[in-house]
Amino acid sequence: MANTKSALLVGVGGQGAILTAKVLVNGLMKAGYDVKMSEVHGMSQRGGSVSTQVHWGEKVNSPVIGKGAADIIVAFEKMEAVRYSDYLKPDGIVVVNDYEMASSSIAAGLESYPEGCIEELKKHFSTYSLNAAEIAASLGSSKCMNIVLFGSMVKALGMESIADWETVIRETVPAKFAELNINAYRAGHTAVK
């Protein structure tokens, strides 16, 4: 377990976490790693909080981790980064989309959206924040927001050399969206420093 790494991709059902994880694991497999990935299906997909875990290394046992064990969290929505932050190792990395989605309880006026999510994350973790929704929209489709964040994740983890990520993206996403997603990957990669 000491030689494995784990990533938590978190967000709101329907934001594309599963596709992002697929790109990641396809690249990791090409690089020869043992990989396990855990998805969530069913009820929580309906606008609920979702997390997808990816765990890789020479040999991986558990597909899931518990608290204090993730190397990186990639959050498609900023409150979700806060929700899962206790899964991070104390020296973990956060890549967070500076993007706010009201939950159904907030929309109904029963709770209010917490203030200062990103500032608080920055206080405790090595945090990269970007507005992936805006970047994706400027590329032509808010749908590629997930791959923008993926580009930032590769940068944050310094994983550029382990796979030819642009080829992996081309092979993973539907052909007609390949260019869009490769541009999204590049934009996400340069958006964080």
């Binding site: 377990m1 990989v35 009820m43 309906r46 608290k67 206790d86 929309a107």
Partner: protein, 583 residues
Amino acid sequence: MEKHLLTGNEAIARGAYEAGVKVASAYPGTPSTEIFENLPNYKEALYSEWAPNEKVATEVAYGASIAGMRSLCAMKHVGLNVAADPVFTAAYNGVGGGFVIVTADDPSMHSSQNEQDNRYYAKSAKLPMLEPSDSQECLDFMKAAYDISERFDVPVLLRTTTRVAHSKSIVTFGERTEHPVPEYKRNPAKNIASPANAVRNHAKLEAAFVELEKFANESELNRVEMNGNKIGVVSASIAYQYAKDAFPEDTSFLKLGMTNPLPMELIRDFASKVEKLYIIEELEPFMEEQIKAAGIECEGKKYTGLLYELNPQLIKERVFGEKADGVELGVKAVSRPPALCPGCPHRGFFYTMSRHKDFVVAGDIGCYTLGGSAPLSAIDSVVCMGGGFSVAMGLAKAFELSGQTDKKVFGILGDSTFFHSGMTGAVEIAYNKGNVIPIVLDNSITGMTGHQDNPGSGYTLQGDIAEKVRIEDVLAAYGYKNIIIVDPQDLKAMEKAVQDALASDVPAAIISRRPCIMIKRIKHDFGKCEVDASKCIGCKMCLKVGCPAVTVENKKARIDLTQCVGCTVCAQVCPKGAISRKE
């Protein structure tokens, strides 16, 4: 050999193919659904279908087994409750072709109403049980399960959990083996479960179990990994993977693939080689109790607890007292429960029901369970698939007998649930003259599990067109004389339908009909709703429809255009006409 990254469910489908399965039947249910969504990939070699419910699926698969074919049925854990009747007797009668029943349990209830531990079904129905711990084992154990089924003349239960079913790991494929089907011959002593035969067949099953335990003690499905003599762990399923990460490197493991019957001699031998023995399993102490009963000293549930999923960190914490080093932030996330999608046809229905304090609504399992969440809060109870109508009948009878005649009782369930087990409840209400309005929320698909076809949708699992079963025709045949079909997105019509049904002199039922907006093969009339801020008075009526796209900011309604599909339910409740649909 080419490697594939597959979920456990995909690997089970592949395993069924490689094992030479020819007939497969199931009803969708998280976390088992994707097994059957993947079977049409092999439709040249095997027939697969969605059955109306798990009992039917089990009987179809078992019928094919009687005819000598390898067959499969699969279901979520609570599905096995529905299918239990044929399963218990199939164990007595035994099989023709190999017969495997897959049960997918859901510890932590990611998408379920309970976290029952279906390993006890294996014990009480006397089924040999295999529990894979990753996707490669899902594939391999399927093939082993068919061999065991045929060798010992008994159905085999293959149990997964959410993390086995929905985790991806690397799998190497094999080839399909065909199993010739002998010409069918009638065999009453084996296949007719009359008392006289059952008396014999029960004894046959018990004898098979003696042999099965010998097999379990020698089978490669159960494997010893000796790494030291201090600590030993007996584990199976996903808990084995967790324990591998949680225990020190010099821990020895007895990794069980076959957990019913337990290989007690193997366990005893393993226990004798270690100083301290732990049993690591999720949910109930299924293995621990049996191992303790065999006089073998061990501990498990004392540390791991009975509730919810485990993970490596939890095991470390509970067994070794090692707290995870997490960081506590100065800000807290608020809840994000699942909600009906923007544009969901159920929203208008539940909004209508939520406006009446004298309505009592017995709900059911599906997306529409979310109608019970705030702010709609329009459901009184949810129990199980098909329970909506019959629970409503009991409520109405109790209100009648206790003089609470002001209450108006409704039973609700979806189209797929109607065919699953709601039809019998509809018969109950009609025949026994229940003071209940049954309502079918017909969105033309099995929604929650991810859009599987059902007898009302007009397509089969393998993509063929089928004659739709019309819900209104079924209800009419049961004796409903006033069947009101209404578009729930038209709030005035929806309210009128409810009032007309309540005022009806003859047995009335409602079909609230509009297709799910996520159905891809239907052309939907999507648009966007916008707020005219000059008209909005900030009264928050629009929030009462519980749409994730609608919020109020700075005392004005706001609609998130990335989520809105223009259903206009919020516009219809606005008292000032401040919301309107723009194309």
